[in-house]
Symmetry: C2
Subunit: 402 residues, 2 copies
């Protein structure tokens, strides 16, 4: 650890699927660095690592405060994002560009792949003896990073899902039928589980919640829906896009006929209605009584609105900002390299702190929902609701006649 002032420039990048608050973290870093003696210039890399490798940057040193504040409140990545997952050659190019441009502070806002990029660049700097302080600031609506109580971006997406289910459950009650809503989340069910916040009265949906933490059995699904439909005359269902069979094969990828794979080897799950349509058809076929009329079945796939709808959770906004500021603050203190994690301090009132954690403990790892948040194969527990409720901000109370 060096205690001397490390004078140089700073670069910030944004990566992966954007969120409603990823710009709060960006502005948090800028704020945290501004005016520091050690910092000469702050630049933003366009499209994350791509801009770092190709020297496409924006100078952020003198952006007016009111413009920064407007950007902080704007969803999606203001610097542009990328799906590139840099290999070691790519990371070397980034590192060489940092050296060439006197960059001593490196901030990358993204998911677990981004923390891995930070880790590799950091190792290159350690090996070469060029001091470069590397920080990862977490961001993902999937809430699937290790070490954090939750990740910036998740509370706002959970808010959208909760509001959407609040309205849609009443729509389903108005015109009874079977309604399936497909929610984002490849490996972790946290976002799908947030649909349970829509339950304000005993018969409110979602009546069934399917998470990627449990195997999905189509026959069991049909039997579950049949049971609820017989009881209530309707059935409102939350399904994670990441549901898979016992062999671990995603149901979505099996159905869509599409096998588009991104640079990370992930099969495309979002941006298609195939899973919802397949499940709806399955229910139509299986639940039509002999010689009778098929039930009314509809499916909506919430899609990208979950990560970019401009109605962020206030807690999420404040925390994403604080995570950026914390990274800047620690970077200026000495030769640390870290990821920032949110630690919950208390629930009444809700309060959380930002902590620095080892990059290696976050990099390329995935957290899923713990068992105590999951009830059986199609529901969540009160413990999960206690966990998520303080994060999403106030939800409207729905009125009804009985």
């Amino acid at each position: 650890m060096s205690s001397e002032l490390l004078v140089g420039n700073a670069v910030i990048g944004q990566s992966g699927g954007p969120t409603a608050v990823i710009n709060q973290s960006l502005v948090g870093v800028v704020e945290g660095l501004r005016g520091a003696d050690a910092i000469k210039r702050v630049v933003g890399a366009r499209n994350g690592v791509r801009g770092m490798a190709e020297k496409q940057v924006i100078d952020l040193t003198h952006i007016p405060n009111d413009q920064l504040e407007a950007i902080a409140g704007t969803p999606s990545a203001a610097l542009g994002s990328t799906r590139d997952k840099p290999d070691s050659t790519y990371c070397e190019r980034i590192f060489e560009n940092c050296k060439e441009n006197d960059i001593r502070y490196f901030f990358y806002i993204g998911g677990n792949d981004s923390s891995d990029t930070c880790r590799i660049v950091n190792e290159l700097s350690n090996d070469s003896g060029y001091e470069l302080r590397c920080f990862h600031i977490p961001k993902t609506i999937d809430n699937d990073l290790m070490e954090s109580d939750h990740t910036p971006g998740y509370p706002s997406a959970a808010r959208f899902v909760a509001l959407a289910f609040l309205g849609d459950s009443l729509d389903n009650k108005s015109l009874p039928g079977i309604k399936i809503n497909i929610v984002m989340g490849r490996h972790a069910g946290f976002l799908t589980a947030a649909s349970a916040l829509a339950r304000q009265h005993h018969d409110d949906g979602p009546h069934l919640i399917y998470l990627p933490e449990r195997n999905f059995d189509p026959d069991e699904f049909v039997a579950d829906v049949d049971r609820v439909y017989a009881r209530l005359g309707r059935c409102h269902i939350a399904v994670s896009e990441g549901i898979h069979n016992a062999a671990g094969e995603p149901i979505s990828a099996l159905m869509s006929g599409l096998r588009e794979v991104d640079a990370h080897g992930n099969v495309q799950l979002s941006g298609t209605g195939a899973l919802g349509d397949w499940l709806a058809n399955l229910l139509r076929v299986k639940l039509t009584p002999q010689g009778g009329k098929p039930p009314r079945v509809r499916a909506d796939t919430f899609g990208y609105l979950q990560r970019c709808f401009p109605d962020a959770s206030p807690v999420d906004q404040a925390e994403a900002r604080a995570a950026g500021r914390k990274a800047a603050e620690i970077a200026l203190m000495g030769d640390f390299d870290a990821s920032i994690a949110i630690k919950r301090v208390g629930d009444d009132p809700y309060w959380a702190d930002m902590k620095a954690v080892d990059l290696k403990s976050v990099a390329a790892k995935t957290r899923t929902m713990p068992d105590e948040y999951i009830r059986g194969h199609n529901d969540v527990t009160e413990a999960f609701l206690d966990y998520v409720r303080p994060l999403v901000g106030p939800l409207p109370t729905m009125g009804r006649f009985d």
Copy 2:
């Protein structure tokens, strides 16, 4: 016209696809009738005409004000809705039940099919000499009713579409590609057109808007997208679910393989991602360069959230309430039968009045977007934006670096 006090009971029903403000109109009628000397009891019919035919009602005479207020602010039909389109036998049963239960005031909140039901019931009462005052209160997110500047329900749905496109256009800018969003609206493009409110900067989406008022030509569509994609490196597109070819066949129904038809003879358009997926695939196939990589194409279908998301436009809430109150007020004044229409009085500041119009002028007719609101085959005009902007309530201003 009778000038005597017509003493009796009142029934209110809600019909068709719910909206975010259909309960405001319900509460407006209840408020308008309460305390009137002529009114003995006010009942709500469960599930619209079905409850009227099957005598399934809720007594609304003494519901506490705070409960009424909570219901007013709640999306979807609190009394339950229906897709039933009553034929003359069905209407006779309703009329007989009205006579039997001393019902003298009949209020039906719904689209143009509901105004037709009002018209038929009203004719039965005229023919029989049993005075029954019949009122239609408009409701539809499609904004496709005659006589009204716009319909209650449309501003809130337009608000959701504008907010969704605001966020999603920035998502498309963050991770450039081709993005298609499918918006509700079977015959009228008003809701799809509201996506244009998301354009705050010169390169904001939607870059292309396809409305059901113009024929949809897949080849022209591919050429349009290709042109925008070549210029901006991305393309953000709004498509109405009701687009059809020159022969008038809906593209959606041709593609989905589903031919589910409701009681009104309408093919199912919502609750499936088929149209978006088909258009996305078309672009993938047609825009892949020889031997090259296909462009990144995604499609989202906004679905039912458009009509039930719990974030109603303030103007819409006030107008839907006022429309209900106006119907009650006129009903108590004398032997009128009418539909309520919104007439815009001024734009600066925005102001509108409620007027009674002839049931026949609304019943079973459809309004589409006038030519002056449409530019070419894939855009809207400034005149449309001037029309829609005051209706949706304040939209957040998006920040950006350049």
